[in-house]
Structure formats: structure tokens, C-alpha cells
Symmetry: C2
Subunit: 343 residues, 2 copies
């Protein structure tokens, strides 16, 4: 592969017309891969995150298998919290936080992420490893959880479907949530800038759970903190924002300052662009469950998506993370189709 | 109260301008009420559903407490399945189906709901009790689960967040899902028509989980079956449709033939009407979690919603079901505000 292929994903993230539609998959290095399952017999999830060489090896598994246009660093959105005096564990059902944050005193226990914290150094080394290994053949994708989404885990103490605890906090003690979100924002700026400085080609912010908010709550509790993060990255690298189930206020996602919006699967690309602007860069948005099914249906839907993106400012991806039970051959076909469909 | 007040909710469901905005709450008879909790010490959930007098007593608890404009029958969307040779139980985590439906043979085990099945007779008696008790002071609201949403429980075997099993079925054995959905549709038509014939003033169809589908999948697996149900009710009573998280394709909800769309909380009413039509009747859509919080915030948001609805074709409600931990006084205030805000 050549240097220009290398940057295909970056060019699409900037809204350029591309000779073919670049592709990667959220959660592409994970449980659906035998090689990953084998490594997890030896190492815990956080053990992998804490060892840059090992994390690089895991990040590169999908590259070795399928050569997608982007290699996302293997980590977890909770990782930077380890430098903020927050104790948590990662289990199969999602993160568990030892002492949930629900009072001002709780927020004061949290410290701002130091610039040379172990987790910052670790993520920088991981990105440097990936840059060296890939040598321009694919984009290195950094990422972070957005303030609101990280706050949901910190306040709820675990993954929650309805977010009752954080919403109650929002409506009864807004000052507590504000203090928490600002501490997270300041730390995330450090964490994201470090990724950019280490050479990440693009960075995706995951505000997965912000799509559980009403429009006024999104405007108050998600948007301003996203804006601070994207503003701090403005001249550093192209950025992407993913929010799940935010099809009721897509125009607010654009206001975040993200350069590209990663779409949930529940809106068609042309309709999203009618809201975001005809030229606005988008990523997505195959229903991850399509990859569980028949390969002919995978092919048909993938081709339909590529056509909808029009080979312009479109990064082919899923509308949410890859499901663990996905057959490997369907991932392979999804990527192959993007590679063979040229303008 | 007078006969005209009685019909306020029906008039709003038909799109009329109303002197004030009628109100009820999805799941208004339930765990947040002490009286309900006390009854549940004595009776199981399904025991209540199976006894029309007892179910009427539970349905009327919120009426006795707050006098909303609509009294929804106390039942469960799974209830008609008891007449279709499907064995299930209702637990705190949602329904559990004894033998999930995943093959053509499984669909053949299911029988069409007989017109005089016990559950049909029971739901008719329940509605008749409510009509008698309320004597025109509030609308009697019937309901049913839509075919796709009922199929999610039947195929998954329980509540599922990602719907992996039914989606895999959809993409690998579409003929199985088609057979199941058509059997459900035929039975639901019987079940819904029976409610109308018994005197229900309006009927709401819950296709809660259809909002997990992409646009083409919604068009194929949810919409045609909703259309059959609404078509069979067309000349019988005003109808409402609720789908959670369907803000990416609201225009398809209108195509169902439902007379009124019950909106999720994640879209503003004026924006929804820009899609549905300026005069289209809508219901909703306060985030149920708002009722967990400060009463001043409840008041402000309720007033904002009423103003957004413009006292025309608007039924005030939540954007999803009432949360069990909701304080009673917040429910009371929500209803009071709608009663005191006249044009």
C-alpha cells in the first residue's frame, strides 16, 4: 500500500471525495477474533491496556486479518480514569466503579489527570507503536469517552439502561454533576491532546449515552463539554463524534465542533446529511446485527451504504460496536467490499 | 366532571383544539403507588390481569389519586399470548418465554387467538368495568403490543437490549419471522377489535422495540404489521402508536395509519410536527426521569411541553413508561399543571 492509501480515512474525515470509501469497524479488535480470545486466556482486559506493546499487538490483529483503513488503539474509555484517583474494574457486564460519585465531596476526591500520568504515557507509547508498525499503511485512530458518558458510569456505578441515578442528580443537585463534568473535561483534554501529540491520525469521542438525554438536557449536559474537548483539538487532528440514538437532534452533534459525525444505524445517510449539510463528513452506519446474518445480505447492505455515502466524506463503519458473536467472514466481506468498490 | 371533559383526550387524539391539554401517564398504575404495592403482596401480576374486577381496581388507583383524563387498563402486552398456546411468565426483569420461537415448527405450535378466548373475554370485562366506574369522566384506554415487539420477546425468550437473536433470524430465516409476525398480527386484530367492541375510547399500540431497527428493516418488519392492525381498527376508535427511539424515521410511524403518534422524549414536539405535519396529533413527551427530580423542574418542563403542544391535538404524557421510583407528588403535580393550564 502507498502513502496516499494510508491517508484515505483522514481525507474522508475531512470531507474529501475519495477514490473508494475507507473502512474500519468500532470494536474491530475484540471477542469475535480467535487470536484475541486466546490472548485473553493469558491477560486481563486492563492488563492489556496497561502494556503498550501488548495493546499494540491486539490493536493490530484486525489489520493482520483484514487490512482496514484505520487501526483503532485497543483500550477502554474508562482507562484515563485510572489516573484520576478513581477505582474501577472492567467486567463482562461493563465497568464497575468502587465508589460512585454522587456528592460534591465525591467530586473533590477526583484529581485532574496529570500530563505525565502512567495512563497518558501508556496511550502515547501505544500510538507510537502503531504508527511505527503501520508505517503509513493505515490511519491510527485514537479515542476517548466524552465527559457525559464517562459521568454515567461514575454516577451510576455501572452500565445502566435508563440512567435514573445520573438524571436524578441532574435534576436535584446540578452543581455536583457540573463539577464532575468539568473535572472530566479538563482531564480528557489532556488525554486527547496527548494522543494527538503522539501521532494519532484521527480521534473519535464516544458520547454513547448522551443520546438518552432530551434536547434541552443534551444542550446543557453533553454539548458544552464536547465543545471544550473538540475546541482543544481543533488545530491538532481530524475528530469524530459518536452518540447512540441521537437522531432526534443530529444538528446539535454538529455544534460540538467535531469534524465528522459517526451515525447510529437508525437513520439513513442522505437524511442525516439533509440535517448536517450535504457535504458534512459522516461515518457509519451498518446495523452491527447485519453482520450476524447471511453474507448476501451483508453484501447488499454494504453496497447500499457505500452508494449512499457517495464516496465523499464518508467513512464506512458500523452504527455501533461490533457484536462479539459476529462471524469473522462477514467482517472480512464488509471490508473487502469497501476495498473493491471504487468510483 | 362533565361529559365534555370526559372526551377531552379523545378529541385531542383526533387532532382537535382543546380548552386544556388532556393528560395521562404510561404505566400510571404501578409500582410507584403504595396501594399497588400493597395489592401485589396479595396477588401476582398475572393473577391481577386474569381477574377483570381486580384489574379494574388497579387501573382505577391513579384515577382515585389524581383524576387523569385517561385511565389505561391494567394489563401487559404479553397477556393475549396466553390464548395462543404460548407459555410465559412475567418477572421483575420482564417476560420469560418457556420455549422461544426460532423455527417454522415453533411458529406452527402457536395458534391464532380464538375470538372467545378467556383472555379476550377478560379484557372485555375489564374495559366494561372501567366504562361503568368512570361513567364518562375519563377516557378508557385499551392497548396491545405490536407484532414486532411481541416477536422480540418470543424469539429472544426474554427482554433483550440488542435484539441479536431476532435480528439474526431476520437475516438468515426471514420466512420464520414472517410466519410468526403474521400469526401475531391476526391475533392482535382480534384482541384489539374486542377492546374496541367492549367500549375502549382509544387504543394505543406499543411497538417499543421497533425503534431498534434500521429504516429498511423497520419498513419490512414493523410497518406492514402495524398497518394491518390499524387498518382493522380504522372505523372503530382513535388509535395511538408508541415506538421508542424512532426519531430517525418518524414519517414511517405516520404511515402506520395510527391517528396519533406517541413521541419518545428525545425529540421536541415542534420538530416532530415539522416531520409529521403541523396538525398531526401527538402524545408525550416528558423524559420519565424528570419526574424523579426537583418539583420546580417538573413544573417548568411540564409547562414548556404544554406550550409546545399548543393545546391542539396534544395529549400530555411521558416519553416512555413511568419509572417505579417516581415520587407520587411529582405525578400529582404533572397532572395538576395540565388541569390548570387552560388556553
Amino acid at each position: 500500500m502507498t502513502q496516499s492509501n494510508n491517508l484515505l480515512l483522514v481525507r474522508a474525515a475531512r470531507g474529501e471525495r475519495t477514490e473508494r470509501t475507507p473502512v474500519w469497524l468500532m470494536r474491530q479488535a475484540g471477542r469475535y477474533l480467535r487470536e484475541y480470545q486466546a490472548l485473553r486466556q493469558q491477560y486481563g482486559f486492563m492488563e492489556i491496556c496497561r502494556q503498550p506493546e501488548l495493546a499494540a499487538r491486539v490493536s493490530l490483529l484486525p489489520w493482520q486479518a483484514f487490512e482496514p483503513d484505520g487501526v483503532v488503539m485497543f483500550s477502554d474509555i474508562m482507562f484515563p480514569l485510572s489516573g484520576m484517583n478513581i477505582e474501577f474494574s472492567l467486567e463482562d457486564g461493563g465497568p464497575k466503579v468502587a465508589q460512585p460519585v454522587r456528592t460534591l465531596a465525591d467530586t473533590q476526591r477526583i484529581c485532574e489527570l496529570p500530563q505525565l500520568d502512567d495512563c497518558v504515557v501508556c496511550v502515547q507509547q501505544l500510538i507510537q507503536h502503531l504508527k511505527t508498525e503501520l508505517a503509513g499503511r493505515a490511519a491510527v485512530i485514537g479515542f476517548a469517552g466524552a465527559p457525559f458518558t464517562l459521568a454515567t458510569y461514575l454516577v451510576e456505578g455501572q452500565k445502566s439502561q435508563e440512567l435514573e441515578i445520573i438524571k436524578r442528580l441532574m435534576y436535584t443537585q446540578p452543581e455536583v454533576l457540573k463539577a464532575l463534568l468539568q473535572k472530566l473535561t479538563d482531564s480528557l483534554i489532556t488525554y486527547c491532546q496527548a494522543q494527538a501529540d503522539a501521532g494519532a491520525d484521527v480521534l473519535q469521542l464516544f458520547d454513547t449515552w448522551a443520546g438518552m438525554l432530551s434536547t434541552p438536557d443534551y444542550e446543557r449536559w453533553a454539548l458544552p463539554y464536547q465543545q471544550q474537548v473538540f475546541s482543544a483539538l481543533k488545530n491538532k487532528l481530524p475528530t469524530l463524534l459518536f452518540v447512540r440514538a441521537a437522531t432526534g437532534y443530529l444538528e446539535l452533534l454538529k455544534l460540538s465542533g467535531a469534524g465528522c459525525i459517526s451515525l447510529d444505524w437508525r437513520i439513513e445517510i442522505p437524511k442525516a446529511r439533509a440535517i448536517l449539510g450535504a457535504d458534512f463528513p459522516v461515518q457509519g452506519n451498518l446495523d452491527p446485527a447485519v453482520l450476524l446474518g447471511d453474507i448476501k445480505h451483508v453484501e447488499a447492505e454494504t453496497k447500499r451504504l457505500i452508494a449512499a455515502g457517495g464516496h465523499r466524506g464518508h467513512i464506512l463503519n458500523l452504527g455501533h460496536g461490533l457484536l462479539p458473536s459476529t462471524p469473522r467472514e462477514n467482517v472480512q466481506r464488509f471490508i473487502e467490499i469497501s476495498k473493491t468498490h471504487t468510483v
